[in-house]
Amino acid sequence: MFNKILVLLAVFGLLVFASNARSDEFTKEDLKKWREAFMEVVKEGERLFHSPLGRNKVSCDMCHPNAANTHPETYPKFQKQLGKVVELRDMINWCIQNPLEGDPLPLDDPRMIALEAYIKWERRGVPLAPGKH
């Protein structure tokens, strides 16, 4: 019985060690692959940002070239016009519904993730400032 426990512990230990080892082991190729996967979503976001997402041919970039004046680093924040604390995606949907005269995207829609990825990529390096108006 004692031997059995020892064996079990040893196997468990090996497993833990092995899985730890695996999680630590990623290569430069992995980094490159993950970066490429991310940049592909950024690129899709850039395409959407420069396309009509509503019914009137207006696109996000017409007011926000290079996603400027979107301030992703300040969200979540109290959006005075909505009277509550909201996330960047809530403002993206507000813009799609109002100036673009379209329908809001589900918050987990891949297009929403792509738009956020592009907006944040264009703002990279700016320190987080949640709540800033």
Binding site: N66, A68, C95
Partner: protein, 356 residues
Amino acid sequence: MKKLTRRSFLKKAAIGGLAAAAPLKMVEVVYGQGAQEKFTFAVISDAHLTHIKGTKFVRNFDEGLERAVTEVSFMDPPPDFVVFGGDLAQLGKKEELEHGLEKLSKLSLPIKFVIGEHDFYLDMGEYWQKHIAPLNYSFDHKGVHFVVLNSILTYDSWINQFKDPMERMLGMARLDNPHGSPFIVGEEGRRWLKKDLAKLSPDTPIIVLTHSPLYKIFKPWNFWTDDAEEVQAILARFKKVTVMHGHVHQIIYNQIGNITFYAFMSTAWPWPYPPTYTQKPSNFPKITVMMNRADPFHERDGTGWSWAEVAAGRVTHHYELWENTPRTVYYDEKLGHPVDKDYQDPSKRIPPQIHY
């Protein structure tokens, strides 16, 4: 003040549904001062009327231009003429240009048209030159020599890569296009300008009207004219030179040597200020006090029109900002550059003027 008769009021009121809301402009009337009599002109710019299909156009942009036309019509006394600063259309379509002309036809004042890149790159200015205005021209008004100079040309190598005119138009219409091309006046335009100014004495006040700024602010968004220095050199011998331009959709003013620069507002939407794009540096003029950050929930905030008061060859530029406080920028003779009437002193700035 000139009185509005019932008849002229009704005529003006018929111009737009906004009659009740439109302010009457109070302008000081000053009578002749010899060769350089005081006068005013109004500016409407960057309307970007966008055709959706059939009879449908983007409502927001239509309403911006309509409001400017109504308010200019109510100026009392009326301005001597109206400058349209370019980008009447969004994609240079005949439908958009004609839609814009119809809206501008409500003005009973002469209009001096400047072409913008959105009016040009679909048919390379063919419709504009045939039906609206020449690309380069000049006129004299109450002692001031006005020049309309086409500054939105670009290099042939960029133009020639496109086979499809709409592709070319879309390439130029995208402000943040990483494969864009800077504006130029070009050799022919500069030669024309030199010849146009040749006979004038250095004392003649000059006002140049262009679409792009005749200096270099931010290349990634084409707030930039590539041969600006060469154009500035042609203007260098004159004592009083003012360049007024569209394209940037925001309050910008600057002084470079003898030249004072003022930007026009757009009636359609405001652009962000270049320093807010943190990935690339800009040469944004330090003397400009930025306009208030626009509130997107107020559709007309950050847009508007302006009027220029010209006295002794210098311009005082009054920005009429919808849903925001008006601004006045004038040339300060002592400082030798334009200053904002209320906000130039850093201690007078307000939080919404901080852009980041």
